[in-house]
Symmetry: C2
């Protein structure tokens, strides 16, 4: 497991950050709207977005005074690749051991 994946799992290991990711499924949103409805302050959201960005799970793009965040397909692709490999390898090995009993 490389550094990126470590950070990605750590990033997804928090309820608020998962909520942010969920909100971004529909498409890009500015910080203010992302914070709206969440039980935490806007600065807290900014800090979470930074962590998600460092994990390559989100991207940001400035537009005037607003800054739009969106899911980062590349980062998610990397995560998916790792998980596909994990399942392919480990679970087949597991099934083999189960059946040999």
């Amino acid at each position: 497991m490389n550094t990126y994946q470590e950070r990605q799992f750590d990033a997804l290991g928090d309820v608020t950050r998962r909520a942010l990711v969920e909100r971004l499924r529909r498409g890009p949103l500015p910080v203010g709207e992302l914070a709206q409805g969440l039980p935490v302050s806007r600065p807290a959201v900014s800090q979470h977005l930074r962590i998600l960005k460092e994990a390559k799970l989100v991207r940001d793009e400035a537009s005037g005074t607003r800054r739009y965040y969106s899911l980062d397909p590349n980062g998610f692709a990397m995560l998916r690749k790792y998980l596909d490999n994990f399942w392919g390898e480990a679970l087949e090995a597991f099934q083999a051991k189960v059946e040999e009993k």
Copy 2:
């Protein structure tokens, strides 16, 4: 995202627990061997295993005084299902938005 997936992401959001899962890829192991080589104490490993078990990521099976832990294929299947759905939905929607620009 239902309760199980919440717990699964939380469970995977810790380095030690990810290390345990990595070790279990090769097959079932008793607690002692799992703890061997890790920089934490055996009771710490027990506590982590409990969290992984509650998240349905591992199973355990007693055998004499030993207790063998292994990956839980059902739990991982649930996680995979969620992620597949996530990618299918969200990233297609994302691509659509990108292309319409």
